[in-house]
Each structure stands twice: as C-alpha cells, then as structure tokens.
C-alpha cells in the first residue's frame, strides 16, 4: 500500500485504534480519526504532526447510527484508501444477556453499525480501481460462543461473517478486505480482567501484526499465538466443549 494513502479509523479512541494510528502515521500515512467525541483526542493532532510529520483530522462519528453513511464519507477531507474499523463495546455478559436494550446496543456497536458503514464504503472504494483496503477488527470471542462472553462474541461473529462476505463480493476488484482477530490485549477494555500473561499482548504488537498482514494481503489475521489456540478450541467436540469452564 503506498505510504501516502489516507487512512480512516472508525472508533479511534480505543487503545488498539491508537496503536494502529501510530503504526500507520509512522509509515507516513495521513489519518482521519472518527470517534464519538473528537475533542477528547485533540492532543493527537500536534503530537502526530511533530512525531511523524503527518496530518491528522478528527471527525464526529456514532457507530450505532444506521443512516447517513454516504454523507459522513462525503464530508471527509479526502477519500480514504484504507479504512480500519476498531469500534468495540464489551459490557458485562450477564447484564447484556438479561437486558434486550443493552444486547441491542452491543450488537449494533460491534456489528450492525460498522457493517453498514463498511458496506457503503466498500462500494465506493472498489469503484476507484485503485489499491485499497478495509480492515475490520473482530475478536477471537466470535470464533466460538462461551457462557462468559457470548453476547459480545455473537456480535463479533456476525461482523466477521459480514466481512467474509464483503471479501468474496469484491474479490475481483482492487479492494482487499482483512479480518483481524486479536486475542487478549492489555487495553482499557480488558483492564481489571485477569488475563494470562504469556498469551496477552500490548496494543502495539497488534498494530504491527495488522500492518504486516496488510502488506502480505492476508485475509484473516490472528495476533501472536491465537491462531493455534483457536484452532484447538474450535476443534473440541461440542459435547466436551459445553462442559468446559473457561
């Protein structure tokens, strides 16, 4: 991907999104950062200008809004050649399972909202006939539902299926669609969770894996050893899996 290709990051305030922003900016890409409250990232603008000499613009964006995708894209200062969707919302499993309104919010934030936006963007990007990419951040939680986390997992599974469909739909174009499934990452989202040290990585490592995956045009990227972990987890027969407690 050419280094001055503009990058749009949806859900830019998360720790993983910021790490990805640093990685792209470090390679010279100008950035458009979309998030609910752009003023919270104001300090990023001079920081990236000094650090990397790249331009950063901030844009107001609500992940759960299901209309106005075209206007949002029209109003960007330039059309993105790379879109990274890092939107994510993880709530307490019990609360989400027991409260339909909260479950709806989890599904709309992690799945429906981003999917609708990427659908509109994909059509435009493919039509440019230039090298371009969509990177969607799913989760290993979407690979197999677990009692501890299945509302979030179901939403991420839906998102991954949508991305897989997009990938096939645009296979004949210059648009590359990549799904990223980070395992455990030390972030604000997982703060306070008891994560196993050896298989938990920092957001910077996830960002590096993503950029490497993009260079090689991988389709599905797992971070660190999670491809192997998930291969094993997915291979466990259901009668056994349902009795496991993790």
């Amino acid at each position: 991907m050419i280094s001055d290709a503009p990058v749009l990051i949806l859900g830019a305030r998360s720790d993983i999104a910021l790490a990805i922003a640093h990685a792209f900016a470090g390679r010279g890409h100008p950035l458009m950062l979309a998030l609910r409250s752009p003023n919270r990232l104001q300090a990023i603008v001079p920081d990236f200008e000094i650090r990397y000499g790249v331009e950063v613009t901030l844009h107001s964006y609500s992940a759960t809004k299901l209309t106005g995708q075209a206007e949002f894209l029209d109003n960007l200062p330039q059309q993105p050649q790379i879109i990274v969707c890092a939107v994510g919302l993880m709530t307490d499993q019990e609360e989400a399972a027991g409260d339909p309104a909260l479950a709806k919010q989890v599904v709309e934030t992690n799945f429906l909202g981003p999917a609708v936006m990427l659908e509109v963007a994909a059509e435009r990007m493919a039509a440019t006939n230039e090298d371009c990419a969509i990177i969607g951040i799913g989760s290993v939680a979407g690979d197999r539902g677990r009692a501890k986390n299945y509302v979030y997992g179901a939403a991420k599974a839906g998102f991954a299926a949508w991305l897989s469909g997009l990938r096939q739909k645009y296979a004949a174009t210059q648009l590359h669609v990549m799904t990223v499934k980070p395992g455990f990452v030390r972030t604000q989202m997982t703060a306070g969770m008891n994560l196993p040290g050896p298989v938990t990585v920092d957001p910077d490592a996830v960002a590096e894996d993503i950029l490497k995956g993009l260079e090689k045009k991988h389709h599905v990227v797992y971070t660190s050893v999670w491809r192997w972990i998930m291969t094993i987890i997915c291979a466990i027969p259901e009668p056994i899996f349902k009795k496991l407690k993790f």
Partner: protein, 436 residues
Amino acid sequence: MKQEIWGWGRAPRAVCEVLQPRDKAELVAAVTAGKLIPRGAGRAYGDAALQPERTVSMRHLNRLLAFDPETGALEAEAGLMLSDLLDVFVPRGWFPPVTPGSKFVTLGGMVAADVHGKNHHHAGSFGHHLDWVEVMGSDGKTRIAKPNSRLFKSTVGGMGLTGVVTRVALKLRKIETGWIKQESVVARNLGEAMDALEDGESYDYSVAWIDCLASGDAFGRSIIYLGEHATQADIDYRQTDDPFPKARKMRNIPMDAPNWLLNRTTARLFNAVYYRAGVRGEGERIIDWDKYFYPLDAIGGWNRLYGKRGFAQYQCAIPLEAAEAGLRQVIGEIGRGSEGAFLGVLKRFGPGRGTGISFPIEGYTLALDFPMSSRALDLMDRLDRIVEDHGGRLYLAKDNRMRPNLMKIGYGKGLTEFAKQRDEAFASLQSERLEL
C-alpha cells in the same frame, strides 16, 4: 483497578488502586477524588510512586504538543517516555539536555526526581533546562510554574508531592551526530579516580564505575568514562553511513533469577572481570548514543536478576569538602560488610539547584545496588550515619528505606521551603514513611 505494583527495585510491593486517565477530564476526576500519588514509568527504585488508595498512572498522557526546530524548545505531556522522545528527535539532531541512566522514564518522573546525568558537572540537573512545568493540584486546577516561582522550585525534585506534573516545556540540545566519542581511563584506586573525574571536567560527560569490594592498594579502583557528542569530523566511514543510529532492540529477562545468583562472591567476580575488561579496553572509541547512555536498557527487566526478594539501590551525595573522607568511609564499610555490591557508580556533581528537595549538591555522588536482605538493611543504616556525619543526603528516587531523621538533616532548609508548597492530598508510601 486494584493491582499489586512495585518500583524498579521490586521491594516493597503494594496493592494499589491504579487509575489510568486517558484525557484531561479523566485526570481531573482521578486527582480530585482524595489521597493519591502520580506514577510515571515506575522507574523509581523504591516506594516513591506507590499509594494504595490511588496511584495515578500518567503513561497515557504522553503527547508532544509543540516543537520549535529553530531553538529546540519542546512542550509535551508529562507521561511522554524519554525513549519516545529520543526515537523522534535523535534522527533530527536533537538530544535531551540531561538524561538519567535509563531511557524508560517519563518527563514527569524526570521533573519529579530532578534527574541528573553524566553531564551534571556542566549542565546541572533536568530542572535547569525547563522553561516551565504545568502542575495540577488536588483542586483539579492547573498552574504554569516558571523557574523563579516557589511552586517550580518545590515541584522540581518534589517527587510529585506538590501536585501532578501534567505538561513540561524544555530545551533540547543540538547534536551533529548520534555518536559519542568516549575515552576510558583506568584508575587504580579512589584517589586516582577522583583526580581523573576532576581532570575530566572539560568533557561534556563523565562518570566512573567503581569496584567497592576491592581492598588494599586497589581500594576504590575505577574505570572512568569520559564522553562527548561526536562531530561530523570525529566519525569515520563506518559511522557516516548512519549518522544517527537507532536504539538497539531490547532483550528480555523472561523470569526471576534465583535469589542466590547475585551474592558477595559473584559480585567480587563480576567486579574483577569488569575491571580487567576496562583495563584492556582503555582508550578512545566511538560508540552510539544508546550504548553510551543506556547500557542496561538493552536488557529489559534486568532488575529480575536479583530474584524475588528485590534489591535496594543506595545513592548518596556528599559535599565536595567532605567527599573524599566520606567516600573512603562508605566504601570501607561496604568492603567490611558481607553484602555484594554490583554496579557502583561514582560521579562528580557540579553545583546543585539549592531549592526544595532536589537531590544534587556540589560534590560527589555514589550509587550501589544491594540485594534485599536484613543484613543489607543493617549495612545501609551504618552507611546512613557516615553520610549524615559528612553533611550528605540520599536520593529519593532510589530510596526505599531511609529514616525521617536523615531526610530532615540531609535536606535541611530546602525541606522547610518545600513543605510550604506541599499539596497534602498527594502522598506516597515514601512520603508517609519520611513524614514529608
């Protein structure tokens, strides 16, 4: 979130409520909630950045705010890591005016400890190179403190007890290359070492590694490292291809070493081998900035070599007129003790700031590591008495065991001045221990 944390010496450990604000609103909420201590990279050795009720990590508030490529004036948030600053600015020909022996520290931590480097005899401490610092009190309000203000004088070196440092404005220095012209000199004993440090005054940087376990004629034998930023003319074809070399990749120590690994015998052996290598390598050479300033940073988590028990670093400063007598007694006492002492570092300090509780005073400073044990604690108590008798003081960024009495005597008038600027909501385990 409750979490067990510790300083670089890994002793003591404490379960603390750790907050990680990501913007100003979150910081204000954390700072106005009650008792707290700010924490940077956690590189203070002891308990300076531990507060069970609320330890506020500044690591996410780490943005560069403004840079003037004409003058080198830089403004940044206090959580910026020095390693990031170096990555950004060394390739552009700028270097921090003062740097401690590790680059994994934050700007806020450098202000709070008023860090010194190998150029203290010329450049003074970090506080000498600041245009201003911004400090947030427990009322959630920020104040810009300029060098002549009382708040500035007590905040620089004030260990985060006057409020949390939120932004820092400093001046970087111009460098022609990222290489260092290093001259190493062998000193066969303490007298020669001190002479060599006095003679090396004309160099920008000077520091001595000292063997505190050698006795007799070799008492205080040292290798003195003098250094200067190399100019274009100093470097040859091997370096001109890469005038601003990048930092090395770090290797990690994956687990705690057993407690017995570092003891008096291995310390003696290590020091002897290191000294011989220094003798063989005497002379001039060109090395890159990363190796020169941050030799230990190449091994991530080297503190784990001391095992689970952790270690204490003892760093004292003794005024010039009493320095030689004081150092002789301190090193003599260590030699008599049964503790290992690795990595003794001796340095000539220029004049100190003379304000608040900033550590450096004109004279000599000696720093040593001891594996944590009751015998080591006893030895350090004995060293305290020598330091006190010679009008010296200990460095708070290293300390995890000093007693309030030595704090009062060692810091004297500056401490009284500092006390007036205290924000009482700010308290660490260290400040509580030292009754600050």
